[in-house]
């Protein structure tokens, strides 16, 4: 099985490989996303990697008109807001992520509870490859 440490570096490298990976406590079975090295339920320290299906529903969201420089470089601004949200995954954990495939200029059309599926947004190449976790509405609802 995977020998990678249960930290953010491993989590982000998995995202580069289009895998959404969390950690599960071998003792009590608690699941964590992003991965935690120590179980906050039972204090267990033996964890194992678990791949999540990447399906869930929208729990909360916002349409951001004034973003940080790295989002502005992607072309977002006051007239082209992007959407970020909290996604409640089928496995019972949550993720914060970009929400794609919705119109940030029409927040009234974005509904809490919308079914979503994972999308991996790759930026850069080779050593400088970074992947942003995103979700989009499921095809055909």
């Amino acid at each position: 099985m995977e020998e990678r440490p249960f930290n953010d570096i491993s989590y982000e490298r998995f995202l580069n490989e289009e895998k959404l990976m969390g950690s599960r406590c071998r003792k009590c079975g608690a699941l964590f996303l992003p991965p935690r090295p120590i179980c906050i339920k039972c204090s267990g320290t033996e964890m194992e990697w678990v791949q999540l299906k990447g399906k869930g529903k929208l729990g909360a969201f916002t349409c951001i008109a004034i973003g940080p420089p790295f989002m502005i470089r992607e072309g977002y601004d006051r007239t082209h807001p992007y959407v970020s949200g909290v996604v409640e995954l089928e496995e019972g954990v949550k993720a914060v992520a970009r929400i794609e495939g919705v119109d940030g200029n029409k927040p009234e059309t974005i509904k809490i509870g919308t079914r979503l599926e994972v999308e991996f947004l790759h930026r850069g190449e080779g050593e400088s490859l970074t992947t942003f976790l995103a979700f989009k509405p499921c095809a055909g609802r």
């Binding site: 953010d8 996303l33 992003p34 729990g59 909360a60 969201f61 916002t62 349409c63 951001i64 008109a65 004034i66 973003g67 940080p68 420089p69 989002m71 502005i72 006051r78 807001p81 992007y82 970020s84 949200g85 909290v86 954990v93 949550k94 993720a95 914060v96 992520a97 970009r98 940030g104 927040p107 809490i112 942003f132 976790l133």
Partner: protein, 421 residues
């Protein structure tokens, strides 16, 4: 009911001051702190000899980023001529000086020091809005930053969760904004000491002078619904839901209870302090409350033997309008999901049963992040001593006030209760 925590000895506040909050191209952290310090000295009724100050605790979040200079403890102690006495900087994002206050209280309660200066400073306006947004986002979790969240964005998402759970709408948030502006209108230290109505009139006058079409807003809410004057920052957070970028400083002097009356006949006693820490956004069980505030409040209530019903006025950390509603619920003033109704009914107004943010709050007084926690206590000082001027709350026998600070997205929360005896 009192808990198991206690202070080794009593601590009192005998002086409090703040600079004007605002955006000042000609003022730096040192001049702002000097301004706050001079006002603080003028409030110590029987006088304070600088040489008697044992140590300094200074809250500052991120001048490192905003003005490219760190290590502010000794810079401020040198400014005041307090070297070589100890100067310690505390960092807890927007709650940084609330932590300085708590450290000051512990230092005296332990018996180590008798007189300490506690304050905060932040100099934010020398950078672009985008850079400030990026700087403040350093207090969020790395996952939130990666997902594109800004601070208004985090509170925007929290608002959608609150709306979904309790049926509140954007219109309810406007009630918070209108009230904050009405209070700040009466606060000469506030960054925006104007009411929404004043702003509407100013805009109408300006349009008349320029020969432009005259706006026809019927009331404050119609003004706030107008996207031309109140654009989206991070939906549903609009410009008037968000605290501004501010420069400012604040400070108070704390002394051991047994010597308090050497400085004033009217000291305020620190009866409750509490601090909690919180999880990142994705790990919260529910986005509609802050676990860390509830924990800090419980700690402060238990230390003081008081409950939410005993708190007569409070300053809460309204970095965004939705935050004020959540905080007044977390402090136990109103039940979860009832805060927005209390604001709508006017209970939190200056003349209401539970006045909240009489200073105008972060929204209107300004939010120089490192100065905010102690800045809130400066307002409580003025109110409890009956020195708040035009905005003095009309409560008879006003004795007990509280302040609540929140750092990051709820990562650090504090509650402080002050009492006049």
């Amino acid at each position: 009911m009192r808990g198991r925590r206690k202070l080794g000895r009593g601590v009192a506040m005998v002086g409090a001051g703040m600079s004007r909050f605002g955006m000042f191209s000609d003022k730096d952290s040192k001049s702002l702190f000097a301004e706050a310090f001079q006002e603080m000295l003028s409030t110590v009724d029987k006088g304070l000899d600088l040489r008697d100050i044992d140590a300094v605790y200074l809250g500052n979040f991120t001048n490192d980023f905003f003005v490219r200079q760190g290590h502010w403890g000794p810079i401020i102690s040198d400014l005041l001529g307090l070297t070589p006495r100890a100067a310690t900087r505390t960092e807890g994002a927007c709650a940084s000086s609330a932590l300085a206050f708590r450290e000051g209280v512990f230092a005296i309660a332990s018996g180590f020091y008798d007189i300490v200066l506690v304050g905060g400073v932040e100099d934010m306006s020398k950078r672009s809005t985008e850079e400030v947004t990026q700087g403040l986002a350093m207090a969020a979790s790395p996952y939130e930053v990666r997902a594109g969240f800004t601070f208004p964005g985090v509170f925007g998402a929290i608002a959608t969760a609150y709306f979904g759970k309790y049926g509140a709408t954007r219109e309810h948030l406007m009630n918070v904004t209108i009230k904050s502006h009405n209070n700040a209108r009466l606060n000469p230290k506030a960054q925006f000491n104007v009411s929404i109505r004043d702003i509407m009139n100013q805009r109408i006058e300006k349009a008349k002078k320029k020969g432009e079409s005259i706006p026809t807003w019927r009331d404050e809410k119609e003004f706030l619904r107008d996207p031309k004057v109140n654009p989206v920052v991070a939906w549903p957070m609009h410009l008037y839901d968000c605290c501004p970028i501010s420069d400012g400083a604040s400070c108070v002097v704390l002394v051991a209870e047994e010597i308090a009356r050497d400085f004033t006949d009217n000291p305020l006693y620190v009866v409750g302090i509490g601090q909690g820490s919180g999880k990142a956004l994705h790990a919260k069980e529910d986005l509609t409350y802050f676990e860390a505030t509830r924990y800090a409040a419980q700690e402060a209530y238990e230390l003081s033997g008081l409950g939410p019903e005993d708190i007569q006025i409070a300053e809460v950390h309204d970095c965004f309008s939705i935050a004020e509603i959540i905080h007044i619920e977390d402090l136990g003033f109103f039940k979860p999901g009832e805060g927005y109704k209390a604001v709508e009914e006017g209970l939190t107004r200056l003349d209401g049963a539970k006045p909240i943010n009489t200073s105008g709050g972060l929204k209107c007084k300004g939010h120089p992040v490192g100065a905010t926690g102690v800045g809130q206590l400066v307002e409580i000082w003025k109110q409890l001593r009956g020195e708040a001027g035009e905005r003095q709350v009309p409560i008879k026998d006003l004795r007990i006030g509280a302040a609540q600070s929140l750092g990051g997205t709820g990562g650090t929360c504090t509650v402080t209760i002050l009492e006049r005896r």
